[in-house]
């Protein structure tokens, strides 16, 4: 018994070490020193919980029984890590974005936060994991027995070892697994302890392997010869079984609750995953390297009938290497305990979030904001769940222990959890996957697994009647558990894997195709499927009457006062509210819900916020509006829209350019045509009358004078026209030199009035001025400004059609600008002509005025050069022009 005592003290010391590691890791995390805790190597090592006692002890057993088949168990995950790295990355990102707490939470969250699915996956996980936990307890018990001198205990129920181990693990898990509630804070202590255990079990197995190869066999060559000589050397590969088990282990790697826990929930960043992608397969390779040598040497050296599952211990013991055996024991112990701890954490999270909390909430409907401390309830429920899971494992072991070889139990469990795979993969890659489909698939797969693998594993006649196996239930041979539909595989496992996954997938796809997704499902589906970066969460709380205080009270209970206050403060600041609680906007509720989801799961968080927000669940119309158009479709159509917008913009630009060119060309033609007309008309008169004077005899003196003066006038008209054209051309080309001098407006107007009315000989228009307003000094080109005024005054003289024509000139000072208005009392310019009068040759009335129609065009050019503007004022009685001049003369650059 001294060996047992030694074993017990070593185990206790080892567990104490793990406690210390976990404790200091937690302390480090609390004080913010998390860098090394988040190191990719720690993450990679924590993944090694994949290698349980089953692989530690069982791989050798499996190799001894089935040859190299044990490799498939390692190959599956390696393939996932190397080849499906992007699937893992997607899963990890979804997990981070959606604050996923477990695989049940992921499935529930994806399919519209369905708690039914959450419960289903949880039950599946518990049923699938319990035998596995029992397996670990069994392995520890068996390994202890190896060291004892007594014969193997026939009735496992009487062994206290398993009970003590279970209790110890429960305590460890409760302490380090439920320290904090938020999944985001992660279990640094646990992960670090697991990483240490990973090193221990690898060291143990490699040390043993080195001892076997170089110590016992005498080198690599001799070992290979020994393998060749054994049965393993002649062993054949069964392709179907290899593929099946590889698929199974790959699926399990993704779906096992404990793997999901370390892979997704404990993941902190993509860098961890990048390293794990190559480092974890290496770890697995190292773990599997010495399995065959140990198995072969064990078969050779140990007596016939020794349990090959225990070669790892019995081999060094038989060689008197107690120290090595102890190390191997610690390796196996590490494998078992790390698996149990993480599995218990994962399962307890699921049980607590999907079963205990919903039930508790249902019992206290409507009182979430006023009754007891939810935080404590959640923690208590988790702790009880951990104890419950371990108790379940122990009971399973106690009731069935010692029955089956280790590897078989492992594969049965694998097949069970693999049933989640179709819903998981469909959930993250297929938008069309629905809740109904997921339920149908899980139910189908789970039932077939129960019927064809799990229940038969207890042996014929224990759960299922023995007659069912030979003739089928009710003598229906098609329904025999191990040969469904008359199809009999050589292999019970392969049979179950084939039918369960096939019917599972079929039911999932069919269910999804023939059912409609609810709005919330579509929304979640879109987010999961298109989750690349941190996408927006489900916009669920569109209209709410939530009271911020109630939310605060509830959040404090779940997250603890400090975290809750920090969160609310952060949100209040984000909303721009100072010193108050944030308003319960949909965005805030969404953030809150997600934070709470980290503690109690998405479905529960949704339900709790729902209770406080007056049960204002999602309004269907609101959601339809948001969800109907899926994110991808909207993105796609937005891209298309942008493209066609771009195209039509370009087309419009081209059209405008073309229009402008056409207009310019038309204008040029019209201008040339106008000039031709304006020049030829006076020339016609000149030519006609000069011919008359030349050719006609007997003209009276008076006629001669008259015709000569017509020729003279028309020649002058031509000259004026050419002057104007040149003037305009110079002005338009900006070649004009302004001669800036200072002058008084009154003087300029005086000069313009007398010039415009000079040849009128007293008759005609009366000019009314108010000289008070004209006492303004201007720095301007006095000559040019006079030219404008003269043009306006002579226009009034020529065109004003009143009985007693009058022209008012009014000067107004308006905020740094000088307004000079010329308003006559005639009928004014016709409305349709008002916008063309400033164009060239835009002569409005008929020919009597005798101008070429360039005056206003020239005036506008001049005023623009002087930094002002000229416009026609409509509805002022008569024709009304306004010249606006800057008071401070800031002439535009020439």
């Amino acid at each position: 018994m001294s060996t047992l005592n030694l074993l017990a003290s070593i185990s206790i010391a080892y567990v104490a070490l793990l406690f210390a590691v976990a404790f200091f890791a937690e302390r480090a995390a609390q004080s913010g020193r998390v860098r090394w805790l988040r190191a990719p190597i720690v993450y990679t090592l924590s993944l090694s919980i994949y290698c349980t006692a089953w692989t530690f002890y069982g791989a050798v057993g499996s190799a001894a029984r089935n040859g190299f088949e044990y490799l498939t168990i390692y190959l599956g995950p390696s393939l996932v890590m190397l080849g499906w790295w992007w699937i893992l990355r997607k899963l990890v990102r979804i997990g981070r974005n959606q604050r996923i707490t477990s695989i049940a939470d992921l499935i529930s969250s994806r399919y519209g936060k369905s708690n039914l699915l959450g419960i289903g996956v949880t039950i599946l996980a518990v049923i699938g994991t319990t035998p596995y936990i029992a397996l670990q307890l069994q392995s520890v018990t068996l390994s202890v027995e190896v060291f004892s001198d007594t014969a193997p205990i026939e009735d496992p129920g009487s062994s206290l070892t398993a009970l003590w181990v279970a209790a110890g693990l429960a305590i460890f898990t409760v302490i380090f697994g439920t320290r904090n509630l938020d999944a985001n804070e992660r279990h640094h202590g646990v992960v670090m302890a697991i990483a240490v255990e990973a090193v221990v079990k690898l060291t143990a197995l490699v040390a043993l392997g080195v001892f076997v190869v170089w110590g016992l066999s005498g080198g690599v060559v001799e070992t290979l010869a020994r393998i060749d000589a054994s049965e393993l050397g002649t062993w054949q590969v069964n392709n179907g079984r290899w593929a099946g088990v590889m698929l199974l282990s790959a699926a399990a790697f993704l779906c096992l609750p404990r793997m999901f826990q370390v892979l997704v929930v404990e993941n902190d960043n993509d860098a961890q995953l990048r390293m794990a992608a190559w480092a974890f397969p290496l770890y697995l390779m190292a773990m599997s390297l010495f399995v065959v040598p140990i198995a072969v040497t064990g078969l050779d050296l140990l007596p016939e009938g020794s349990n090959p599952d225990l070669f790892v211990l019995t081999l060094p013991l038989s060689q008197g290497k107690e120290g090595l055996a102890l190390l191997a024991f610690l390796g196996g112990f590490s494998s078992a305990t790390s698996m149990v701890i993480v599995a218990a954490i994962a399962l307890s999270t699921m049980v607590s979030n999907h079963i205990v909390m919903p039930v508790w909430l249902r019992l206290r409907e409507g009182t979430a904001s006023v009754s007891g401390d939810v935080r404590n309830v959640v923690l208590l429920s988790r702790r009880l769940s951990i104890a419950g899971v371990l108790l379940l494992g122990y009971l399973y072991y106690a009731l069935s222990g010692g029955r089956t070889e280790l590897a078989a139990i492992g594969l049965i469990a694998f097949t069970g959890v693999a049933q989640v795979l179709p819903a998981l993969m469909g959930g993250i890659f297929w938008r069309g996957a629905t809740r109904v489909g997921a339920l149908a698939g899980l139910t189908a797969g789970f039932s077939i697994w129960l019927y064809t693998l799990y229940l038969p594993s207890f042996g014929p006649g224990t759960v299922l009647p023995a007659s069912w196996f030979s003739t089928g239930p009710l003598d229906i041979t098609l329904l025999r558990p191990e040969a469904l539909f008359g199809v009999s595989f050589d292999d019970k496992l392969l049979h179950a894997v084939f039918w369960s996954l096939l019917l599972n997938t079929l039911a999932f796809v069919a269910g999804s195709l023939f059912s409609a997704a609810s709005p919330l499902e579509r929304l979640q589906g879109a987010q999961f499927v298109s989750a690349r970066a941190a996408g927006a969460g489900a916009r669920s709380w569109l209209q709410s009457t939530a009271e911020s205080e109630d939310l605060m009270v509830m959040t404090q209970r779940i997250l603890g006062p400090n975290e809750a206050q920090a969160l609310f403060l952060r949100e209040a600041q984000a909303q721009g509210v100072q010193g108050e609680l944030p308003a319960p906007t949909p965005e805030f509720l969404q953030v809150l819900e997600r934070e709470l989801a980290g503690s109690v799961g998405a479905a529960t968080a949704h339900a709790m916020v729902g209770q406080i927000t007056g049960g204002a669940m999602v309004s269907v119309e609101d959601l339809m509006a948001v969800a109907d158009e899926t994110a991808q479709m909207m993105e796609y159509s937005a891209r298309l829209e942008a493209q066609s917008l771009e195209l039509s913009r370009t087309a419009a630009q081209l059209r405008r350019a073309n229009d402008k060119l056409t207009r310019l060309s038309v204008q040029k033609d019209a201008f040339l045509s106008q000039i031709s007309h304006e020049l030829r008309t006076p020339m016609s008169s000149i030519r006609a009358f000069s011919e008359i004077l030349r050719d006609t005899q007997g003209l009276t003196r008076a006629d001669q004078n008259r015709y000569a003066s017509i020729i003279h006038d028309e020649a002058m008209r031509l000259t004026r026209l050419l002057d104007d054209l040149l003037d305009l051309s110079v002005l338009e080309n900006g070649q004009v030199n302004l001669n800036l001098t200072e002058g008084r407006l009154e003087d300029i107007l005086d000069r313009a009035v007398s010039a415009a009315l000079a040849d009128e000989a007293g008759s005609g228009i009366r000019v009314i001025r108010r000289r008070v307003g004209e006492q303004v000094r201007l720095t301007t080109d006095v000559e040019r400004l006079s030219q404008v005024f003269i043009n306006l005054i002579s226009n009034a003289r020529k065109y004003c059609d009143a009985e007693a024509p009058e022209l008012q000139i009014m000067v107004t000072d308006a905020r740094g600008q000088l307004l000079v208005d010329f308003i006559d009392n005639g009928s004014g310019v016709a409305p349709e002509a008002q916008d063309v009068i400033f164009e060239k040759f835009a002569r409005v009335s008929d020919q009597k005025a005798g101008g070429a129609g360039l005056g206003l065009a020239i005036s506008r050019q001049i005023v623009t050069r002087l930094g002002g503007e000229i416009s026609y004022l409509a509805d002022r009685g008569g024709a009304a022009f306004r010249v606006i001049l800057p008071m401070r003369q800031e002439i535009a650059a020439q």
């Binding site: 016609s684 030519r687 006609a688 011919e691 008359i692």
Partner: protein, 122 residues
Amino acid sequence: MGGQVLLIEDEPNIIEAIRFILSRDGWQVHTHSNGTDAAQIVRDRAPDVVILDVMLPGRSGYDILRELREDPAHSELPVLMLTARGQSKDREMAERAGASRFMTKPFSNAEVLDAVRALSAQ
């Protein structure tokens, strides 16, 4: 000769020149300066020859001529078109509108007289 000429033109000096030239040759010259009612004046006066300017206030000479040509009574009426726009497309437009003769300003007095004589002789 003693034929009747209707001159539709808006430039006073040109009216005076043409009236002088034709009157001395024995023609009776009526004038009209507005495009709008020019076609009606032609119908009322029923002249032997029409001298028609293109650029008229109210309505273009082409439009007036087209209206006249649509009326069978005036489809053969001799019309001399005057234009101050000398481009070839103006000549084409005049021909299409149905002008009997086309002349560009500034014109030669003798040519105008010859044209009127020739047109009235047709």
